[in-house]
C-alpha cells in the first residue's frame, strides 16, 4: 500500500531528509514527525549538508524579515535554491512556505526567496490574528502530498500572514478564515503547507508520510542512473 515502510534493500533514506535549521523553533517536532513517517531526518544549518540533501524541509515560525536575514547569515539561501532547482523534493512549512514567495508584507516589504510567484499579506478581516487553531482543508486539486486526506480534514494553523500565489494553478488546498487562502501549494518538486503538519495529529503525520514517499520515489529515480 501507500504506507511508506522502509525496505532495507530499497533506496536508503537514512539521514537524507534534512530539516533546515535557521533558529526557527520547532525543529525537534519536525524531525520526530519525519522519523515517525519512516525517514531518518537530520537537522542542520551547514550549507554543504543542506546543498547535498536528497530532500529538504524548511520549517519555520517567526517573522519574514528575520527568517530571510537568518537564512542569509548562515549562507543557506544558495543551497536552498540549488536543491529546489535540481528537482529534489522540498517541503516548506508555515514560514517556510511564505519564504518561497517573492515578497512578504510582514513589517514592511521584504523580498523572499522568489521561488513561487506571489506575495504574503496579513489577515485583515476583523477575526482574531493570529489565525490559531484547527481549521479544515478544502482540497481543490488532487496531489500525492495529500494522499488519503479528504477535504474537511483538520490541521493546525498558527499564522498572521498568508501567501497569495500569483499562479492559481499551484494551489492544492484552501482554507477559510474570514477569507479563503491557499493552505497547500505545489509546483513540481516544491511543496508547501501554511499549517504545521507536525502539530496536526494523525492527519499531519500522514502528510509527512506522503512527503517521505515522494522523496523516496524521487531518490529512487535519481539513484537508478548514477550512483552517488
Amino acid at each position: 500500500m501507500l504506507s511508506p515502510r522502509i525496505d532495507p534493500r530499497g533506496p536508503d533514506l537514512t539521514s537524507e531528509v534534512v530539516v533546515v535549521d535557521y533558529d526557527a523553533g520547532n525543529l525537534r517536532s519536525v524531525r520526530r514527525a519525519l522519523e515517525h513517517a519512516g525517514a531518518r531526518a537530520i537537522v542542520s544549518d551547514d550549507p554543504g549538508v543542506v546543498a547535498g540533501a536528497r530532500a529538504l524541509v524548511l520549517p519555520g515560525v517567526g517573522a519574514a524579515a528575520d527568517t530571510m536575514a537568518k537564512l542569509r547569515q548562515r549562507g543557506l539561501v544558495e543551497p536552498l535554491l540549488e536543491v529546489i532547482a535540481s528537482g529534489r523534493p522540498f517541503l516548506g512549512v508555515c514560514m517556510g512556505m511564505q519564504a518561497l514567495f517573492e515578497l512578504s508584507e510582514e513589517g514592511g516589504e521584504h523580498p523572499c526567496l522568489g521561488v513561487l510567484p506571489g506575495r504574503v499579506v496579513r489577515f485583515e478581516t476583523g477575526a482574531p490574528v493570529p489565525h490559531m487553531g484547527w481549521n479544515t482543508l478544502d482540497v481543490v486539486s488532487a496531489h500525492p502530498l495529500l494522499a488519503g486526506i479528504p477535504s474537511g480534514a483538520h490541521v493546525y494553523f498558527v499564522h498572521s500572514y498568508y501567501p497569495v500565489p500569483g499562479d492559481p494553478a499551484i494551489v492544492v488546498a484552501e482554507t477559510e478564515y474570514g477569507e479563503r487562502f491557499a493552505s497547500v501549494v505545489a509546483r513540481g518538486n516544491v511543496l508547501a503547507t501554511q499549517f504545521h503538519p507536525e502539530k496536526s495529529g494523525r492527519t499531519g503525520l500522514r502528510i509527512y508520510e506522503n512527503f517521505v514517499t515522494l522523496a523516496r520515489s524521487a531518490t529512487g529515480t535519481a539513484a537508478g542512473g548514477a550512483a552517488r
Binding site: V129, P130, T136
Partner: protein, 271 residues
C-alpha cells in the same frame, strides 16, 4: 472553518504530573507522556503543562518531560511556570514546546513579552492572566491582576493588562478567573467578554469548568476561542470526547475526535 479548542491542563512537579487524571487504563497516572497520549487519542486539541517545580535546579526534569512528550504527541504543547527570561523560553521551545506561558515575570517586567515575541514570534508567547474581581455588587465589573500563582495582588487592572500584553506581542491570552477557579461553577463570562472585546488575539478561558454547559457558554457568550480545563477531566466525570460531542450537538464547531484522514484510512481495507 476554525474550530473551538479544548485544552486539558496538567500541573507538573519535577517532571511528574501531580494533578492529572485518572484514566483507568493508565498504569501510571503521573506519567506525562502516557497522559498526553491518552488525551491526544481522546481528541484534545492542545495540551498545557504548568510547571510548579519549586527549585530552579530541578527544572531539568521538566525539560526532559517536554522533550519526551513532544517526541510522541503531535499536537501543540504549551508550557508555563517559572519563565523569567528569554533564555527560559528558548530552553522550553528547544525541548519541543510550541508556546510558552508567562505570568508573574511579564507583569513585573512587561518588556519580557516584546523580547520573547521578537526572538521567537508572537505565536509562541501566551500571557497568562490571573484575575480577581474587585468591584462590589452593582458596580461596573473590575478585575485586579494577581501574580505568584494567585498569592500576590498587583495594582494592575486585568482588562488594561490584557490590552497591554497583546500590544507588546502576546499572541494569545490565557485568562483565569480566580473567583471561579476550582469551584466548578462556570467560567467568568463577563471577564471573558471584556477581554475578548479589547484584544485582537485568541482568548483561552480558564477557571471554573464543572459541566459541559460551562464550556459551551465560555465559547459562545464569553467569546473565548478555546477552553482550558483541569478538574472537569481530573475527577473523571467527563472526557474530552464526551465534551466535544456535547459541543458539536449544540452547534459549536469542534475538531472531530476521529478526524477525516484517520477515518478515510479505516475505510480502506488493508491501508
Amino acid at each position: 472553518m476554525l474550530t473551538k479548542r479544548i485544552i486539558p491542563c496538567f500541573d507538573v512537579d519535577r517532571g511528574r504530573v501531580v494533578k492529572g487524571v485518572s484514566f483507568v487504563d493508565l498504569r501510571d497516572a503521573g506519567d506525562p507522556v502516557g497522559l498526553a497520549r491518552a488525551y491526544d487519542r481522546d481528541g484534545a486539541d492542545e495540551l498545557v503543562f504548568l510547571d510548579i517545580t519549586a527549585s530552579h535546579e530541578e527544572r531539568e526534569s521538566t525539560y526532559q518531560m517536554i522533550a519526551e512528550t513532544a517526541d510522541q504527541v503531535f499536537i501543540p504543547l504549551t508550557v508555563g511556570g517559572g519563565v523569567r527570561a528569554p533564555g527560559d523560553m528558548r530552553r522550553m521551545l528547544e525541548h519541543g514546546a510550541d508556546k510558552v506561558g508567562v505570568n508573574t515575570a511579564a507583569v513585573e517586567r512587561p518588556a519580557l513579552i516584546e523580547e520573547g515575541a521578537r526572538r521567537f514570534g508572537s505565536q509562541c508567547i501566551v500571557v497568562s492572566i490571573d484575575a480577581k474581581r474587585t468591584s462590589a455588587r452593582g458596580e461596573p465589573p473590575r478585575w485586579r491582576v494577581y501574580t505568584h500563582g494567585g498569592r500576590r495582588e498587583t495594582e494592575r487592572d486585568a482588562i488594561e493588562w490584557a490590552r497591554e500584553a497583546t500590544e507588546r506581542g502576546s499572541g494569545e491570552l490565557l485568562v483565569t478567573s480566580m473567583d471561579s477557579d476550582g469551584h466548578q461553577t462556570g467560567y467568568d463570562l463577563e471577564l471573558l467578554r471584556e477581554v475578548a472585546g479589547v484584544v485582537g488575539v485568541p482568548v483561552i478561558a480558564s477557571g471554573g469548568a464543572g459541566e459541559p454547559e460551562h464550556l459551551y457558554r465560555a465559547l459562545t457568550e464569553g467569546g473565548a476561542d478555546a477552553v482550558l480545563a483541569a478538574s472537569i477531566f481530573h475527577f473523571g466525570r467527563y472526557d474530552v470526547a464526551t465534551l466535544k460531542r456535547y459541543l458539536a450537538a449544540r452547534g459549536v464547531a469542534v475538531r472531530p475526535i476521529v478526524d477525516a484522514a484517520a477515518a478515510a484510512e479505516r475505510e480502506v481495507p488493508g491501508a
